[in-house]
């Protein structure tokens, strides 16, 4: 998290960052993210993704959750989309899991990460009444 903090500050020194050097689990997720305007889920492991999404959906009934699922491999541009389930948004193709034969590669990971960022901006923009 320290390296990530440095990278973000190199891009924009004005960004306010509270870096938490700990492993997120069901017990501490609410304490870390419970006050966020929007939760962005960007874990690697599917079990942890499900844990975090579930924790927020159950305990923060107003919080939008923007998750990523299905971004491994190459190609398939037109299969990547955002599916909305109420206040849960899932970006990705919904079918490409990471495996030894299907690694996460920068182009697709980047596409999905930017879709998540774009979704967050849209949520906040609409909330601000724009």
């Amino acid at each position: 998290v320290r390296a990530l903090r440095e990278n973000i500050l190199a891009i924009d020194p004005e960004v306010v960052i509270e870096a938490c050097d700990l492993r997120i689990d069901a017990a501490n997720a609410l304490a870390v993210f419970g006050d966020a305007d929007v939760l962005v889920e960007a874990f690697d492991r599917a079990e942890e993704k499900a844990m975090l999404v579930q924790a927020m959906m159950e305990n923060r009934p107003e919080m939008p959750v923007v998750s990523a699922s299905g971004l491994a491999g190459i190609g398939g541009n037109n299969r990547i989309r955002t599916k909305r389930y109420g206040r849960l948004y899932v970006c990705g193709d919904g079918e490409s899991a990471v495996s030894a034969d299907n690694p996460p590669l920068a182009p697709r990971v980047g596409v999905v990460a930017n879709m998540q960022a774009n979704q967050v901006l849209e949520i906040l923009w609409k909330r601000a009444g724009r």
Binding site: V53, E58, S67, A68, Y85, S99
Partner: protein, 67 residues
């Protein structure tokens, strides 16, 4: 009993099948992040007590590894 799961017809077995029964019968290969029944989110602790009815529309959101 016929229900819809993720907009596809699904035959769920049992007399009074619950969300937990459905998930067991679906045997999803990936972790489940959320379940909605007729538009309402179901808490994980209520999977066993939320009884499904014929024609219910169920959404099961899975999470795939990678991020």
């Amino acid at each position: 009993m016929k229900i819809q799961v993720n907009k596809k017809d699904f035959e769920v077995l049992g007399e009074r099948p619950s969300v937990a029964d459905l998930l067991e019968q679906m045997a999803p290969r990936h972790p489940v992040a959320a379940v909605k029944v007729n538009g309402a989110f179901v808490r994980r602790g209520e999977y066993g007590t939320n009884i499904l009815k014929g024609g219910d529309r169920v959404i099961v959101v899975h999470m795939l590894g990678g991020g």
